[in-house]
């Protein structure tokens, strides 16, 4: 091809590849940020003791002395996972499960002086809890690993509402009527309003005491090695226990749908971009065949076979694809690198310098886009190559 044409076609492919690499990195980066916000602070799969269905009063009455007390008694007795160590060791054996942490959860109140707010009390073993949810970068003040039987962690909103800091003492009352005094050891920001407003973390034994459930727990929180395995893992857990099992994917269906739509839209845009480049390459090459038809005729008169002529054009297409892939992925990678290093001066996020656009560069996208570009160059040369090979040498030499 003449110099202008080669540059034009290689440029078309390069722009396609560049866009695919850049868009993929951008969308991936945005999604990872989003997913981290939504999923980071919750376990991938939650297992909790099922709340028993409400029973007709006559049934309760027949079972025990007083109807009201009997109902309460049954409820509190049932909402627990007995022999949870055995359940846990069964769950840990499921492939894809990274870690499992026990927790005691229940409702209560937190009081400081005259102020009282509603609370979701969570008893955990801090070291284990930190393995199932990402608390790194979420602690605003203090140290979460100090949470135990005397020390608690509260959310930023609650700390604000009650005016507490690390070291402040608070009274916590559970809905079973147990009241204890704790010292605030850490203040966290989960990125979720509800958790920041009401969650109170304490040691597992303190939680067990609060809800009077002995050595039992109410929840087992599971971290999957890959977060998108959460649903199959949840299904397997359901197979081994009758407890209530929820994966983040099931409780965030709408969010996942949004992600999927985003991915589909991105894929369509990228496919269109590559398709447009392919058409560009094909049309330039068809024009090229017309321009060069006399030369093709001459080559045929010198003994070039149809297959040889076809090969020349296919190789041309392959070269265009390769060149475009190389330049496009080089520029795309460079652009991603540049944008990743665009920071907002003086602003920190998660302990790192905040970036304007969160990019997640992935070599896989570069390879994929390059592969598609090369295939595209080849495919878009098939029609022109066929035309060139089929040229009648007599016509080509006379009219070319």
């Amino acid at each position: 091809m003449s110099h202008g044409q080669t540059e034009l076609t290689v440029g078309a492919v390069a722009v396609g590849v560049l866009l695919v690499v850049f868009l993929s990195s951008l969308i991936n980066g945005l999604q990872i940020g989003l997913v981290e916000d939504v999923v980071g602070s919750i376990p991938h799969v939650g297992v909790e003791a099922a709340t028993p269905d409400a029973r007709p009063l006559w049934q309760v009455q027949s079972s025990s002395s007083g109807a009201v007390t009997a109902l309460e008694k049954i409820t509190t007795r049932s909402k627990r996972i007995e022999q949870w160590e055995r359940v846990r060791s069964a769950i840990v054996r499921i492939p894809g499960v990274k870690s499992v942490a026990p927790a005691v959860e229940g409702d209560g109140l937190v009081t400081r002086g005259a102020k009282t707010v509603g609370a979701r009390i969570v008893g955990v073993i801090p070291a284990e809890q930190m393995r199932v949810v990402s608390l790194k970068n979420r602690i605003v003040e203090g140290d979460f690993s100090k949470v135990d039987e005397q020390n608690i962690a509260v959310g930023v909103k609650m700390a604000d509402d009650l005016g507490v800091h690390v070291g402040t003492r608070l009274r916590v009352t559970s809905n079973t009527g147990v009241t204890e005094t704790f010292r605030v050891a850490a203040i966290f920001d989960m990125g979720v309003e509800q958790a920041n407003e009401s969650a109170v973390y304490m040691g597992l034994q303190a939680g067990q005491a609060m809800f009077k459930i002995g050595k039992d727990v109410t929840n087992l929180n599971i971290r999957a090695a890959r977060m998108y395995d959460a649903k199959p893992i949840a299904d397997q857990v359901r197979g081994i226990t009758s407890l209530r099992v929820t994966s983040w994917m099931e409780s965030n269906e709408a969010f996942l749908d949004t992600l999927r739509m985003q991915n589909t839209a991105a894929a369509i845009i990228q496919a269109m971009t590559l398709l447009a480049s392919a058409f560009g390459v094909a049309s330039v090459m068809i024009v090229f065949v017309v321009q060069k038809s006399r030369d093709i005729g001459i080559l045929k008169s010198m003994g070039a076979t149809c297959a040889q002529i076809r090969r020349v054009f296919i190789l041309e297409g392959l070269g265009v694809g390769l060149g475009g892939a190389l330049i496009g992925s080089g520029l795309g990678t460079g652009l991603c690198y540049l944008v990743t290093n665009l920071t907002i001066p003086g602003q920190m996020f998660g302990g790192k310098q905040a970036t304007i656009v969160p990019m997640q560069f992935n070599m896989g996208y570069v390879l994929l886009a390059s592969g598609v570009a090369i295939a595209m160059g080849l495919l878009s040369s098939i029609v022109p190559a066929h035309r060139a090979a089929r040229l009648d040498p007599v016509q080509a030499i006379r009219q070319g």
Binding site: I298, K300, G303, T305
Partner: protein, 242 residues
Amino acid sequence: MNAIVEAIELSKSYGDGVKTWALRGVDFRIDPGEFLAIVGASGSGKSTLLNLVGALDKPSSGRICIDGTDTSTLDDAGLAALRGDTIGFVFQFHYLLAEFTVLENALMPLWIRKRGTVSEDTRWVKALLERVGLSDRLSSRPGQLSGGQQQRVAIVRALANRPKLILADEPTGNLDSQNGALVFELLTELNLEFGTAFMLVTHDDRLAQKAQRIVAMGDGHIVADYRVESVEQEAAVVTGVG
């Protein structure tokens, strides 16, 4: 002696509905080393015959054997091999590839047929280029040469594969009379030096008269086929030169 070209009842028509007959049952033969000129008015069938002899086109009916092979028995690759190995083409315009140098253009048939050249081939092509007076222009581009020089490169290119037959379609048609005469002279010299048969289509009767044999065409038929040699000899006898 086996003929280089042997055509039997060769016909060629164009058009699907109303057929135009360019050749109407031509019997024709070229022997090795012959130098023949085809003359005739436009539309008389000269170029059609040349294209059929060059295996660039297929006859509508009749048979044509080139170097002993019936072209109707060959597929695309076979025809390409025949063109590449047995026949060389020279056209009215040089049709050199602008992107390649003089030497590369001349080596092109060897590249196509052998996919790579040995030094012997390169020596041969260089010797040919020297023979036609272009040894100092090997790395020039076709655009930097004069019309006569370009046509001489095209002639060397036609000879590169040592073909048995060279087909030339108005090879001097685009040159002034002086250059045209020089190119024609070169063709006759090469014919004698290498024993290559030449089939030349021309409008120029003065040039045609210098060929050994003249084939005149009209309306798709061969209307005359005679040898000039004897005429010249007769003329020589008459004028007392020979």
